[in-house]
Symmetry: C2
Subunit: 119 residues, 2 copies
């Protein structure tokens, strides 16, 4: 679709996670911020929120675009997206750290190039 | 990929936008917040940021997941993603409002179901 990519958008499905880990806002916030910092990205702002009765949403705005996580502890599942316009950002490191943070046993990934159409 | 969808993730490419409109943090913030409210979503928090020399990033966390926009005024291009776990949210209305907000002339859309794999 995109003929002039400005960035890559990764959609990551984390399956068979440990429910208590993906229901902890503090655990996810600390771990994901550390992972994003280690990836070489520049953090602009972050916001995390716990839902009742369960589930956490977190978004980290980075100079390179954003990283988000939404969790469904009752399904042992977390949906992540990582959008970066920097080829230098270490996206595999973030995914590896997410696996450690969530104890996900099955991880799948889709990568989609984003950018304007050129005519 | 997903056998048990918890939500739908829409990746929207806005091409041939009016540069001045997609370089205005206030314009995008006010317009996108209004569009998201009208879509029936519940806003939790928002954060918008202007980059130097140009470009705006905005993320609105909603109870249903999130809406983000990243703009490249120099390319007349904006990348949007809308992730919702509610079938009731009016996503077409948000996309229509984005077209009005940005004066995009060519809009393309990818829809990806998100959710855990069932075995």
């Amino acid at each position: 679709m995109s003929n002039h990519p400005v960035g890559e958008h990764y959609l990551v499905e984390l399956n068979d996670c440990e429910s208590s880990l993906i229901n902890s806002e503090n655990h996810l916030r600390e771990g994901l911020i550390r992972a994003v910092q280690r990836s070489g990205a520049t953090i602009v702002k972050d916001m995390f929120h716990s839902f009742s009765p369960h589930g956490v949403t977190g978004v980290i705005v980075i100079a390179e675009s954003h990283v988000s996580i939404h969790t469904w502890p009752e399904l042992h599942y977390a949906a992540v997206d990582i959008f970066t316009c920097s080829a230098k950002m270490n996206v595999p490191l973030i995914i590896e750290q997410l696996e450690i943070l969530t104890h996900a046993r099955v991880v799948t990934l889709k990568q989609i190039s984003r950018g304007p159409k050129t005519t």
